[in-house]
C-alpha cells in the first residue's frame, strides 16, 4: 500500500482528497499550495504545506488536483524520480502524464466539492485509470480505502460521465437559479421548493428519470403552458429556456391521447 502521498493543488478537490486521506490515517507527506492565502483549511488538518516548488520532496504518489489547463504545468514541478503521478480530471486523457510512463494514471472523484460542505467520501464514485496493470493495482488499493465505489474507467467513460454531470448538476443548478429568481422577486421563499427538489432527485435515482417525467409539458397542457409563458413575459432568456425544454419534453415524452 502506498503510504507517501503528495498533493499538488489548493482547490476543493485537493482539500477533500487530503481530508479523506487524513481520515483514513494516511497523512499526506506534503501538500503544495502556491498561494499562502489558501493554506488555512489545509494547515488545520496538520499536514506539511509547501509554497515553493523547489521544496517538493520525492514521494510514492503525486496527485495533481489542479484545473484541467494546469495539469501539464503542475507535472513540470515534480522532482525527478519514479513516483506514480495521477491527475483528478474527468475530461483530460491519462496520456497527458505519459512522460512518467508507466507510472501514471487518473484518480477522478465524481462529486461537486465546496470548502464549506462536508462530504461522505466513501459514497463518492472514484474513477481510476492507469498506464499498466501494476500501476492500476496500486491505485485501486488506495482508492478502495477512500471510496466504496471504485470503477476502472476509460477516458471516454469519464468524459461521458462529466458530460452527464454538467446536465444533472451545472444545468440543473442554473434552473434552480431561475426558480429562485422568480420567487425571490415576488417575496416568496425559495425554500418552499426544497421538498420538491429532494423528491424529484430521489424519484429519478430510484425509478429512472425517463419513467417519471410529469408536468404541463408531459401532458401537453397548452393552457397552463401559455399561462406560465405569460408570467415570464419580462424575462426573455428564462422564457426561451422554458420554451425549449417544454418543446423537448412534448416531443420526447408526450403521447397524444386517442
Amino acid at each position: 500500500m502506498i503510504k507517501n502521498i503528495t498533493i499538488i493543488g489548493a482547490g476543493n478537490v485537493a482539500y477533500h482528497l487530503c481530508k479523506a486521506f487524513v481520515e483514513q490515517g494516511i497523512n499526506p507527506k506534503q501538500v503544495f499550495i502556491r498561494s499562502k492565502s489558501k493554506a488555512m483549511p489545509f494547515a488545520k488538518m496538520g499536514v506539511e504545506l509547501v509554497h515553493n516548488a523547489a521544496e517538493i520532496k520525492n514521494s510514492e504518489l503525486f496527485i495533481l488536483a489542479v484545473n484541467d489547463d494546469s495539469i501539464a504545468d503542475a507535472a513540470a514541478l515534480l522532482p525527478a524520480g519514479d513516483a506514480l503521478v495521477v491527475h483528478t480530471s474527468g475530461s483530460v486523457p491519462c496520456e497527458i502524464l505519459k512522460d512518467f510512463s508507466p507510472n501514471y494514471g487518473v484518480f477522478y472523484p465524481l462529486q461537486t466539492f465546496s470548502l464549506e460542505r462536508e462530504v461522505d467520501f466513501k459514497g463518492i464514485p472514484l474513477f481510476i485509470e492507469a498506464a499498466n496493470s501494476a500501476t492500476e493495482s496500486k491505485l485501486k488499493e488506495l482508492a478502495d480505502l477512500l471510496s466504496d465505489s471504485v470503477i476502472v474507467s476509460t477516458n471516454l467513460d469519464r468524459r461521458l460521465l462529466h458530460l452527464g454531470a454538467v446536465y444533472v448538476s451545472n444545468f440543473s443548478n442554473a434552473l434552480f437559479g431561475i426558480a429562485n429568481q422568480i420567487l425571490e422577486e415576488n417575496a416568496i421563499s425559495f425554500q418552499h421548493l426544497a421538498p420538491l427538489m429532494r423528491e424529484t432527485v430521489e424519484k429519478a435515482i430510484v425509478k429512472n428519470p425517463l419513467a417519471v417525467q410529469t408536468g404541463p409539458a408531459r401532458r401537453n397542457d397548452k393552457e397552463t403552458i401559455a399561462a406560465q409563458l405569460n408570467l415570464l413575459k419580462n424575462s426573455p432568456e428564462e422564457k426561451e429556456i422554458y420554451e425549449m425544454l417544454t418543446n423537448y419534453i412534448i416531443n420526447k415524452y408526450h403521447t397524444p391521447q386517442k
Copy 2:
C-alpha cells in the same frame, strides 16, 4: 375541527391526501372514484369508495383532487348543501368555485406524488386560500394537522410557485433523462451520478443556487465546452439544450478575468 371529509379523485394527490388524513386519525367519509380500476390503493386504506356520483353524500368538506381542467365538472357532481369545497391545483384560481360562496378555497400541496413512493406529508408545504376568514380558519386548522408548513397564499403566489416547480422538477428531470440516455447508450450506469445529484440539490437549498453555480460554462472553459459539444454531435436536440443553457450560464454567471 372538520371531521367529515369527502375526496373527489383517484390520482396521486387524492391518494396521498387520503393517506395523510387516515394517518392523522381522520378517515375520509367517502372517496369518489369514477373508474373502479383505480380503487385498489384506496380500498386498502379501508375508506368508503363510491363510483357513482349519485351516491356522494353530504359532507363538511369536499376536496376536488382532480386535473385542472376537470375541477368545474367535479364541482358539478356535488350534492346541494353548504359544505366547504376546495380544489388542490397550483394554477387554477380559487374563484372557479365561487358558486359555493363563501364556502370555497384552495388546498395545494407542493410536491411530486407517485402511488409507489411514500412521502412525509408533514414536510410538504401546503398552500391554502379561502373566500373569507371564517373559511380560512377552518382550512388552516385542518391543514396544520397534515403539514408543518401551512402558508396562506394568493393565486399569483401559487402560480409563481408552480412555475418555479416546473423549472426545478419537470425541467430538471428532463435534464436527468438526457444524462441517463447519454450514459446508458454507452453502458455506463446512471447511478454513478446519484451522489452528485443529491449534493447539487442540498447545496442549492442550503446555500442558494445563485451562489454555487460551477462547471465549464461558469468558467467559460471553451475547450471543455467544445469537447462536450463534440460528444453530442449525433444528438441535435440535446446539443441545442446544452448550447442554450451554457450561453445562459456564461451570460449570467461568468465574470471575465482581468
